[in-house]
C-alpha cells in the first residue's frame, strides 16, 4: 500500500485508541477508503498485517458494512435516502431525477465518471425529507426541482475542471 504520510499517521494514531488492535479495523478501512476511494485487494492484506489478523477477518468486515466498496466510484457520491419518511415525500422521484440528469442508474458510475448515484437506507434526517448525502454534505428537502439544481451545480463544477 502506498498511502500518504497524513493517512499513515492517522492510522498509527487510531490504533492506539484501542486495547485490542482488531478494533481499529473499521477506522482503518474508513481512512483507506477516504484516500483511495474504495477498498482494493491489497488494502485487506495490508490491514490484516497491521492489525495482526488473517485477511478473512478484514474481508468479512468489508463485505458486511454497506459503506465499504470494492470498486471505484464516480468523482462525487450521491446517496439518496430510500427509507419510508423520505419515500413518502418523493425520495424515489429525487433518485430518478439524479439518474436522469447524469444518464446513469443507481449503483453505477455515470458515463462521464462524474458521479455515482446510490439509494441508501435511512440517513436519520427524516424531518427534512427527502434527504440526499453528497460526499459528506447533507442536502435537505430535495424534491425534483432541487435535485435538478444540485445536478446542474455539479455539472458546472465539473466543466470548470
Amino acid at each position: 500500500m502506498n498511502l500518504k504520510p497524513e493517512t499513515l499517521s492517522k492510522i498509527y494514531e487510531v490504533i492506539t485508541h484501542y486495547p485490542v488492535k482488531r478494533s481499529a479495523t473499521l477506522p482503518l478501512l474508513h481512512l483507506i477508503q477516504e484516500e483511495v476511494g474504495y477498498i482494493p485487494e491489497d488494502a485487506i492484506t495490508w490491514i490484516a498485517a497491521k492489525l495482526e489478523l488473517e485477511p478473512i477477518n478484514v474481508y468479512e468486515v468489508v463485505t458486511f458494512y454497506p459503506m465499504f466498496r470494492r470498486q471505484p466510484i464516480g468523482r462525487r457520491h450521491i446517496k439518496v435516502c430510500r427509507t419510508l419518511s423520505c419515500a413518502l415525500l418523493g425520495g424515489y422521484k429525487t433518485c430518478e431525477t439524479f439518474e436522469k440528469e447524469f444518464n446513469t442508474h443507481r449503483g453505477e458510475v455515470s458515463p462521464d465518471g462524474e458521479v455515482t448515484v446510490d439509494f441508501v437506507e435511512c440517513l436519520a434526517s427524516c424531518g427534512t425529507a427527502p434527504v440526499v448525502l453528497i460526499d459528506d454534505e447533507l442536502h435537505e428537502k430535495v424534491d425534483c426541482v432541487k435535485a435538478k439544481q444540485i445536478a446542474d451545480q455539479i455539472k458546472a463544477e465539473a466543466k470548470k475542471r
Partner: protein, 452 residues
C-alpha cells in the same frame, strides 16, 4: 384540550441563534460546571440519583438507566467501559443528529459524568457512518475538552482520568443493537450476541463489563446530576419521567423535533396542534409512533381497557388521537414508544406499498446470522415487492402473516421482532387493503407516488 408547552431540556440550545458548537460557547452557558460539581461527590451518590430519577433509556427499549448501571459487574477487577450509542439508525428517528451537530459538549459532559459515576476509564462514542460531519464535530469537541481538562488525564485537576474516542460505524442498522454494536467496535461483523446468560453489563466490550447508553439518555444524566433525581422524576408522569424528544416525519404540516414532558402530550395534540395537522386536503390515515419497527396505528380504531392511575384502576377508551405519548400507554395499546420517531401517513398512501418500503429496509439490514430473520425478512420483501410491481394475489396477506409469525422469539436479537411487527400490524389493521390490492392496482394513476 390544548397541547402543553414544549419544555426543552435536552434541546434547550438547539437552533438558538448565536449558539455554536464550540467549547467557549458551551462554557459561557454554564457548561462543564455540572461535571466539576459531580467530581466532588461519591460515584454511588450519582448512581442513586439516576435510580431515583426513573430515567428510562431513550434508544428504543426504554430500559431503566439506573437498573442498567446497577447490573454492572464491579467485582471482576476488569476495566468497565462505557459506549455512547450514537448509531441513531431506527428509521423515523433524528434527535441525536441535532445534539451531536449543535451541542456536542452537552453529550460529552453527560458522558463524563456517567463515566465518573461508574468508574469508567475509557469510553467510546459509536457514531453511525452516515454522520461524517458529526464525527468530525465530536472529535473537535473532544480535543477542545481534552485541552481544557474536562476529558483525559486528571479531569478538572482531580486524580480521576477518563478518555473518550469517537468510533465510526459504516452503514449497518444492526449496530444500534447493543451487542451488535460491541462486536462492531471490536472490529467484527455486527452480529448480535446471544443473551442471556451474559449481558454487556457483565461481559461486554473485550469481555469486560460495559454500559451502552443512548445519546439522549446521557444528556438526561447531566440534567439529573445538576438538579437531582427527584426533580427529574417530577417532570413527566410516574414511570415515564423527564422529557421526551419526539421526531415527527411524513405527512404533517410541520415535521421536526419537539421536546415535551413525557406522557403529558397525546398523539393527537402532537400531530394536530404542534405539527399543524395533515397536509392541505388530506386526512391522517396511519401513524407509526416509535420508529419504523413499532406497530402501526390506524386512525379510527379504538383501544379499551383498564389502566393504573395512581393506586386505582380506571377504564380507558381511546382513539389514536387520545393516546398519551409515553412508554406505558403506547405499550398498552400494542405498540411502543421506542426511539420517539413518529412517522405519519395520510390518505394518499397505500399500505401495501408502505409495508413494501419497510420490508425492503429490514431485508437489507438483517445481519443474516439467524435463519428466521434472514430468510423471513427477505421473503416478506419479495412478496410485498411482487405485490406492488408484479402480480398481487388475494391470498398474499395470509402468506405474509404466515412468514412474519414464524420470526419473533426465534432469533438471537430483537431484530426478529422489529422486522415482523410491521408486517403483522399492517395486515391486522389494514387487511382489507391487502386483499383489495390486486383490484387497486388496476386503477392506479401512472404517475402516483412510488414507495418501493
Amino acid at each position: 384540550m390544548p397541547a402543553p408547552e414544549q419544555r426543552r431540556i435536552i434541546f434547550q440550545h438547539i437552533d438558538e441563534p448565536g449558539y455554536s458548537n464550540d467549547l467557549a460557547c458551551y462554557v459561557k452557558h454554564g457548561g462543564y460546571e455540572v461535571l466539576k460539581q459531580a467530581l466532588t461527590r461519591q460515584p454511588q451518590e450519582l448512581i442513586d440519583e439516576v435510580k431515583k430519577s426513573g430515567l428510562r433509556g431513550r434508544g428504543g427499549a426504554g430500559f431503566p438507566c439506573g437498573v442498567k448501571w446497577g447490573l454492572v459487574d464491579r467485582k471482576s477487577g476488569k476495566p468497565i467501559y462505557l459506549i455512547v450509542n450514537a448509531d441513531e439508525s431506527e428509521p423515523g428517528t433524528f434527535k441525536d443528529r441535532y445534539i451531536i451537530h449543535q451541542d456536542p459538549h452537552q453529550l460529552i459532559e453527560g458522558t463524563m459524568i456517567s463515566c465518573f459515576a461508574n468508574n469508567v476509564q475509557q469510553a467510546y462514542i459509536y457514531i453511525r457512518g452516515e454522520f461524517p460531519h458529526g464525527a468530525r464535530i465530536l472529535e473537535t469537541a473532544l480535543a477542545e475538552a481534552r485541552a481544557a481538562g474536562f476529558v483525559g488525564q486528571n479531569i478538572c485537576g482531580t486524580n480521576y482520568s477518563c478518555d473518550i474516542f469517537v468510533h465510526r460505524g459504516a452503514g449497518a442498522y444492526i449496530c444500534g443493537e447493543e451487542t451488535g454494536l460491541i462486536e462492531s467496535l471490536e472490529g467484527k461483523r455486527a452480529n448480535p450476541r446471544i443473551k442471556p446468560p451474559y449481558f454487556p453489563a457483565v461481559l461486554g466490550l473485550y469481555q469486560c463489563p460495559t454500559i451502552v447508553n443512548n445519546v439522549e439518555t446521557l444528556c438526561h444524566v447531566k440534567y439529573i446530576a445538576e438538579h437531582g433525581g427527584e426533580a427529574f422524576a417530577k417532570i413527566g408522569t410516574p414511570n415515564n419521567t423527564g422529557t421526551r424528544v419526539f421526531c415527527v416525519s411524513g405527512h404533517v404540516q410541520r415535521p421536526g423535533y419537539y421536546e415535551f414532558p413525557a406522557g403529558t402530550i397525546t398523539l393527537g395534540q402532537l400531530l394536530n396542534e404542534v405539527c399543524g395537522g395533515p397536509l392541505p386536503g388530506r386526512t391522517f390515515k396511519a401513524v407509526i409512533p416509535g420508529g419504523s419497527s413499532a406497530k402501526i396505528l390506524r386512525f379510527g380504531e379504538r383501544f379499551k381497557g383498564k389502566r393504573k392511575v395512581g393506586a386505582d384502576l380506571v377504564d380507558y377508551d381511546w382513539g389514536v388521537e387520545d393516546v398519551p405519548m409515553d412508554f406505558d400507554s403506547l405499550g398498552m395499546i400494542g405498540t411502543m414508544g421506542g426511539s420517539g420517531g413518529v412517522i405519519v401517513m395520510d390518505d394518499s398512501v397505500n399500505m401495501v406499498e408502505a409495508l413494501a418500503n419497510i420490508n425492503a429496509f429490514y431485508s437489507h439490514e438483517s445481519c443474516g446470522q439467524c435463519t428466521p430473520c434472514r430468510e423471513g425478512s427477505l421473503w416478506m420483501k419479495k412478496i410485498t415487492t411482487r405485490m406492488v410491481h408484479g402480480q398481487a394475489r388475494a391470498e398474499d396477506a395470509a402468506l405474509l402473516k404466515g412468514v412474519a409469525d414464524q420470526i419473533p422469539g426465534r432469533t438471537i436479537c430483537a431484530f426478529g421482532e422489529a422486522c415482523s411487527w410491521p408486517t403483522q400490524s399492517f395486515i391486522a389493521k389494514f387487511g382489507d387493503e391487502f386483499k383489495q390490492y390486486p383490484e387497486t392496482k388496476k386503477t392506479k394513476a401512472a404517475d402516483s407516488r412510488v414507495l418501493v
